[in-house]
Symmetry: C2
Subunit: 217 residues, 2 copies
DNA sequence: GAAAGTATGTGAAGTGTAGCACTAAGTTTG
DNA sequence: CAAACTTAGTGCTACACTTCACATACTTTC
């Protein structure tokens, strides 16, 4: 079996989420077509994606929602719980710490860290903000491999180096800068400003012309 | 000249940002190689991308930082200011409203909206949270075409329909659900949970095997 | 229980993007 | 001022991903 491409891995969580919604709605069976319509992905794409991991459907029927969800969660490693460190407890870091969506499905906020002494000791949702100095030890002790960075761009690289040194292997960064990491460490970015700036291109163009080409991310 | 693909449009803001940093550092000239090294993009990619819009460099020299930045900002429509409506003022919406990064470079938060009466009237950074009922009028009056959605998944589609009806043409959604929009409306998503869930795949795999394929988003 | 209907899994074709490698044009060196 | 060096712009190639379309398999209908 071939190695699944990263684009496929990125779509799996969307399939999983959609299946969770279906489950809540009490739907027990779904076809690749129905699932695809919900998330604007073609049926063939879904079937191809899943085929990297096995055969999960029944011809003539479709997929059992609960079973497929379990299998995708298993593939993604969501059957266990992943402790996550959050670095940088400004407005954004605090919102992340409080976000219910993280609590579920395999993610557990395991530590909040900041370098600003005025933030340290602050309690957010039952968790105490700790000094960044403590991060190394706690990451090592708890075997934390996932971190979310919400610090200013200027300190993001320094924080990253530190985290990687302590054992973090996957980073979700909200800092508006590209991080350099050694082989074997995964970085993904959340960059709302860049997204907005890319959309203004189309808005500006649409104002000047009437030409349209297909939107939708 | 050919229509630039969307992937290229999405990279332009990254180039722009990197050029802004270079400008702050006092660098006046940069080669595609140097710029690429900073943001982990090949030199050829940068040159190819820019070639969709014209010729901005000097052979043997590279690019004038200030000039290239201006030209990219011009392409992206960032020479004017885009008013943005923010819908959903929970922890995240508030963090968005307070984020300094939005204030700069063409984006101006023009209105904060929520459906929860207990939120309405709240003042955030000098802006008063208004009822979602007011959004239609204000979007029309101010010609707002860009919106950020930070509402729960269950109300995201309803809010979207409303915004589109009022004239919004580009939406950045933080809601964990796929939105259906008519032709001519752009939607992009920020989905930290999906990103984390895609990274756990690699973390889980690395624990079970020693095989590595290249990380980095 | 045969025929019609539905939907998966997948080889093959099609599409789009990234990178190579070369030409052209400028600069620096001696 | 010529030779060596640097770097942009770009046609072409290679590759990766998406979509098509069909064989297969299961279900429902009559």
């Amino acid at each position: 079996m071939e190695e699944p491409p990263d684009v496929v891995i990125r779509r799996l969580p969307l399939y999983a989420r959609s299946l969770r919604y279906l489950l809540q709605e009490g739907v027990e069976s779904v076809s690749s077509q129905e699932l695809g319509d919900r998330i604007n992905v073609t049926a063939a794409q879904i079937r191809k994606d899943l085929s990297y991991f096995g055969e999960f459907g029944k011809q003539g029927i479709g997929y059992n929602v609960r079973k497929l969800l379990q299998q995708i969660e298993d593939i993604l490693g969501l059957t266990r719980e992943w402790p996550v460190a959050v670095i940088g407890i400004g407005h954004l870091g605090e919102a992340i710490a409080r976000y219910e969506g993280f609590r579920q499905q395999g993610i557990r906020i395991a530590g909040l860290f900041d370098s600003n002494p005025s933030k340290i000791g602050k309690v957010i949702d039952g968790m105490t903000v700790q000094s960044i100095e403590e991060a190394d030890r706690i990451i090592r002790e708890q075997g934390i491999r996932l971190a979310i960075i919400a610090v200013p761009a200027r300190s993001a690289q320094e924080v990253t180096d530190r985290l990687v040194m302590a054992g973090v292997r996957a980073i979700l960064s909200y800092a508006p800068t590209v991080l350099q990491v050694p082989e074997g460490v995964w970085v993904r970015y959340i960059d709302p400003v860049a997204i907005l700036h890319s959309m203004t291109y189309y808005l500006a163009r649409d104002i000047h012309s009437t030409r349209h080409n297909s939107p939708e991310s």
